[in-house]
Every structure is written in structure tokens, then in C-alpha cells.
Symmetry: C2
Subunit: 255 residues, 2 copies
Amino acid sequence: MLRYIARGMTDKKKVTAGILLIGDELLSGRTQDTNLATIAKFLEPLGVQVGEARILSDNADVIRDSVRKFSERFDYVFTTGGIGPTHDDITADCIAAAFGLGISEREDALDELRKRYEESELNAARRRMARIPDGAYLIDNPVSQAPGFQTHNVFTLAGVPQIMRGMLADITHRIEGGAKVYQISVEATGIGEGNAAAGLAEIEMKYGDVSIGSYPWFNESLRGINFVARSVSETTLAQVKSDLEALILLLSPER
Amino acid sequence: MLRYIARGMTDKKKVTAGILLIGDELLSGRTQDTNLATIAKFLEPLGVQVGEARILSDNADVIRDSVRKFSERFDYVFTTGGIGPTHDDITADCIAAAFGLGISEREDALDELRKRYEESELNAARRRMARIPDGAYLIDNPVSQAPGFQTHNVFTLAGVPQIMRGMLADITHRIEGGAKVYQISVEATGIGEGNAAAGLAEIEMKYGDVSIGSYPWFNESLRGINFVARSVSETTLAQVKSDLEALILLLSPER
């Protein structure tokens, strides 16, 4: 079996994840992805930040190359989609190819399927779901049994959101998180982004260890900005919050 | 000025687009992207298929390299986000860097901003929105005036969905589309994906010019599959639809 590589342990400061969302249906606009947000919110309290996500078509070469690159670039990689029983489910083979591993039907994965299916129902298509790269650890699927799996630092999960969410429960204990990143948000109403930009830059320069995003919104009658600041220091964030509130007061039209 | 490169004209069969969605807020799970689906649905009737999408953090090197790679790999590239007035709006500079172009405040872009802002309101932050890579074509912004722009085959659009959608209207005439791809879908209720896989593979093998996706769904009391077939031939699709319906009938439990 492969050793479980906890890269996060070597760098407590910043632990990152890359996410590969696999499936033509996500690119055609037919299906709206929600798995990215679910995984990001799952990782946040573990101190892991998502560095990049890619939405890939069902193309074996692209999936294989993307897995390989992300596995090198990020501490953890999550893939979703393409591990069902049909001909367009090619993710397991692509993961094996990415790491130069063999792949075959595994007895431990078949045992998981047997919790759901009678032996007579385990046809060739369903048995495909027991094809797992050599040495990979299974990931429990409490919703529909067909397991996900972990290969080195890559977690391969189902695409169906309910199943994907269920599999995350069996991943928490495998993640060695980094520093927890805190977040505050401050809403400004009636202010345009262009008015706030100079003051905002000043606040960001004042504090080295904080990143501040500025997200304008508007509707027919009103405009405004949401400021979101993130930092590993709660103390810094409290100061930033008070600086942002002072800036908003300064810029408010009623003043 | 740069020549407008209509790569689509050289290959009527398959015209592709890559999409780069830029912004930390999309990766934290705080903001749910909807621009990918909007662009995909905009491109479909023009005969352009989305080949890959990436969600990038506000990292200048990553954005620059991704733009460069996507520009080579796809006929058209769309970027969304990062062209506002604040310090984290770095997309325009990254596009210029990707193509080795200069970038400066342009009078034609300032003229657009003047439709919305009084001269006194055009502070340094807002003038940032008039920084455009040399030779790029402006893209009209009917919502909030600050323009998008086209650099070679890359369209750089706003991230706010309402503004992004408004900018697409000024892109239609710049796209040289490929063959229109038609789509049919057939829903099967009460059937599991594992039962349908073998029959589905047979249907796909029978027709060379069609791709069939299989999307399982389930709720507490029922399961089913949506089959989606895509092809440039409406005739083929009609045959595939009838084959899929026959397969479903064969597999239905009530039979």
C-alpha cells in the first residue's frame, strides 16, 4: 500500500488544495456546479485554502495531465465526477495513468458494493465501480456505497452532490491542516467602489498579514460594497474592521 | 491596432472556448459562480463549445500564464472578474503581460467612463478602469460603462453577473461559430445507471457522430437517469432518441 503523504505537516503556514470538477455537463451550462463551494467550506475550518479549481471535459489526456500537475502543485487535490458505472466514467483510469499505477477490480471495493447490491445485480457495469488504482485507500460512501478513493494526495469523489458531501466525512481525518484563516465582512451601502479604492489600499498597506477583497453590488435603486478581510490573526482583523468602518463613515453621502 | 483573429473560420467543424473565472471569492465558497453557465449558453447557438474552465485566485503570474495557454489552446477565451477600480483588480495588467503588450489609460475608455461620471468623480481609482492593453478593442458595457476589451482571441469581461451578461451583447458579432451542436434528452425513472450502462455503450458505438452522457439522480423514494445526447446531426439524434426510449422500455421494472 502507498504511504499516506501528509504534506500539510511540513508547512503549517499555508496549506492549499486544488479541485478538479470533471464532466461535460458542467461545461455545457446544463448542470450548475455546487461541489466547489461545498469542498471549500469543508476545508476552511481545517485551515486549507483552495488555490485553483478546473472544470474539465471527459477527456482522458486532459484529466490525467491535470491530476498530475495539481498533485505536484497543491498539498491536496479533490476530483469530483466520472466514477459511476457508464462508459463516460473514466476518472479512475485517469488517476491510475497520472501516477503510473495499475488498476483493477478490487475485492474490498466489491465488498462495499455488496452492501447495496445482490450478487446477481453486480453486472459488468456495476463492477466497474470497484475498479480502483493499485494501492489507493478507499473512501467510504454512506449514500450509495460505491467508494471513492485516495491516491497519494488526491481524493477522488463522486460528482452527485449528495454523494460527494457524504464522502467528505471520511476525509476529515486524512487532512493535516494549516493555520486557520479568519474572515470578517463589512457592508457599505450607498458607496461606489471607485470612491473607496484609495482608502482601501491604505488599510491593506497598513497591515501586512491581511488580504482585503472588495465586492461591489447594486440593484435598481441602490449600490454598495461588501468588504471581506481574511487573516490568520483575529487581532489584526478586529483592527481592520474598525478601519473599514471608519472609511465607510468618511465616504457616506449623508455625512 | 491588432488584427481581429477569427480562428473559428479555419475550422468549421469544432470551435472551442476556454473560460477563466478570476477571483479569490469564487474559490473560498463565498460567491457561487454563475458566469460559466451564462457564457456556455450564450455560445451554444453560435456553435462554440466550452472545452475547459478554470477558477483562478487573484495571483498575477497564474492569471498571465493561464491566459497565454488558453489563448493558444482554444479558439476563443473569456475572462471574467478583476477589472474594477480596486487594488485587487489586476486582470488588465495580466492580459497585457500575457501578450507582451504595453498598457495605459486610454482616451476611448475614459470617454466611456465620462458617460457615467462627472470629471470630478474620475479619481485615480476609477481611471484605473480605463487602463487597457495596447491595441485591444473595447467591449461595450451597457450597465455601468467601464468597458471590457478584446485582446487577440481573448474577451475580458466584468465579474458581476449582470454586467458580464450585458457585455456579451457586444461579442456575438465577433464570434465565427462552428457547426451547431444539437441536443436531446431522455429521462428514465426507476432505473439504475448500472442496469443501463451496457445498452448505452451499444447505442453510442452504433452512431459515430454522437456523444451520450448519462446523469443519475435520486431522491428518497425514487431513482432515475437523464440521458443527454449531442450531435451535429439532427437525424442521428432522432434515431438515438428512439433507441434510448427502447432501451428504457426494456429495462423498466414494470415490464
